[in-house]
Amino acid sequence: MYKDVKMPKGMNPEVLEHLMNPKNYGKLEDDNGIGVALDEKTKEYVIFYILLNDEILQDVSFATNGCQDTVVIGSMFSEMIKNNDINYAKKSIEKMHAKLGEMTPQQKICAELVFTAFIAALKNHDNRKEGIDEELHLLKMKESCEATNMETSHE
């Protein structure tokens, strides 16, 4: 839709479309994995839902109380991985970093919230398969918000 819109300079029309109409936003009713990334300091969170069958992400969705950067990144990332396999999705995190280019520290935190929630959803999917009774998997972000600096807990 945005391809046909002539945008003034300054803001990418793709970004504006994701702002106006975020893709894959909300709950997934038939999920088999739910992950939450929580920034305890700001109380911002991303919750990520996946429906994973035979290594294919048949459906995905996300929700957040965070800022618009989080929404745009969640919308773009979920579109990228939907109907693709797990390996593609994991590589997509790197691709997203490249697509997003140079980000402010705040935007990096937003991006990591999204990616971490997705990783938590995969973990929840694995845990459920192993018979662990876990409604969702929570990963708490540390200030650095780097994926390697996470504390985990079960809910």
């Binding site: 945005y2 819109v5 945008m7 003034p8 300079k9 300054g10 803001m11 029309p13 504006l16 479309e17 702002l19 106006m20 109409n21 975020p22 936003y25 909300g26 709950k27 939450v36 109380k43 969170y45 919750i47 929700a63 957040t64 109380n65 800022c67 618009q68 929404v71």
Partner: protein, 267 residues
């Protein structure tokens, strides 16, 4: 009953965003009044649900279509009002809501009968023009409006949710003030988004956002958020060269200051 509540929630938003989308000040104002009535319907339906020991949520299933004429907006709204009628309860509240809706439908029909009302809708054209404002300032304004329109919608629903469940009169009154204040902010920001051609629905709220387990912690965090919103308003006010717009953000900034006072009363 939760289905009725969800439908009413959606109808409130349909009327509210129709009001934002339409430029004609008279139609805009009438629809805004109807949206406020619909919000009260939603509140009363919620109270009835809780009184029966049941519960409701803020799930939604709706889209805001990018319509291009006033009549398209009005026709779509008529359809929404007609569709909800069978969901209302068979009681005094249900009858009250139905008579309000019948009056709204009559008004919508009046608008449709006057062909001169069928103007172009520019609220969704993504052109982002604001008088002589330079592009970098329009970009800043765009992001601010997306962030803050969501935040005001979020606050309206969170405070309304808590208000419906409190037994404390002080809390009830403060929540009402905060809901009223956020309605005004949402109205202001929604109309600005429409003027810029970027009108969009705020995102649906997840229950993790509105089910508050620790009120004190919520208020402490909320006060910090209000401080951040104040800072954003101040930055925008300082950065924007349009005097009228700059004054508007100063005005909003001072209102945020009083919200902090209101929230402190609850601690």
């Amino acid at each position: 009953m939760n289905k009725t509540y969800q439908k009413k929630h959606q109808l409130w938003l349909e009327i509210l965003f129709a009001s934002f989308a339409i430029e004609d000040e008279h139609i805009k104002s009438r629809l805004y009044d109807f949206s406020q009535i619909a919000f009260r319907h939603m509140k009363w339906l919620g109270e009835e649900i809780l009184a029966t020991g049941d519960d409701y949520n803020y799930d939604r299933d709706m889209m805001l279509y990018k319509r291009i004429t006033v009549f398209e907006v009005i026709e779509a709204l008529k359809q929404c009002v007609n569709e909800i009628q069978t969901f209302y309860p068979q009681n005094t509240l249900g009858e009250r809501i139905k008579t309000d809706d019948i009056y709204l439908l009559e008004y919508l029909q009046e608008v449709l009968q006057e062909t001169a009302n069928n103007k172009e809708i520019t609220a969704f054209n993504m052109q982002r023009r604001w008088e002589d404002l330079p592009q970098d300032q329009i970009d800043a304004l765009t992001l601010f409006l997306f962030d803050e329109s969501y935040k005001e919608y979020e606050l309206i629903l969170i405070y309304a949710y808590m208000q419906a469940r409190t037994k404390n009169l002080l809390h009830y009154n403060v929540f009402q003030d905060l809901v009223d204040e956020s309605h005004f902010h949402l109205k202001s920001f929604g109309n600005m988004m429409a003027k810029l051609g970027i009108l969009a629905l705020p995102r649906e709220l997840h229950e993790m956002t509105y089910i508050v387990k620790d009120l004190d912690q919520f208020l402490v965090d909320g006060i910090a958020e209000e401080e951040a919103a104040k800072e954003m308003c101040k930055e925008l006010s300082d950065a924007i060269t349009d005097e009228k717009l700059s004054k508007f953000f100063d005005f909003i900034n001072y209102q945020e200051s009083y919200h902090i006072n209101l929230m402190q009363k609850l601690l």
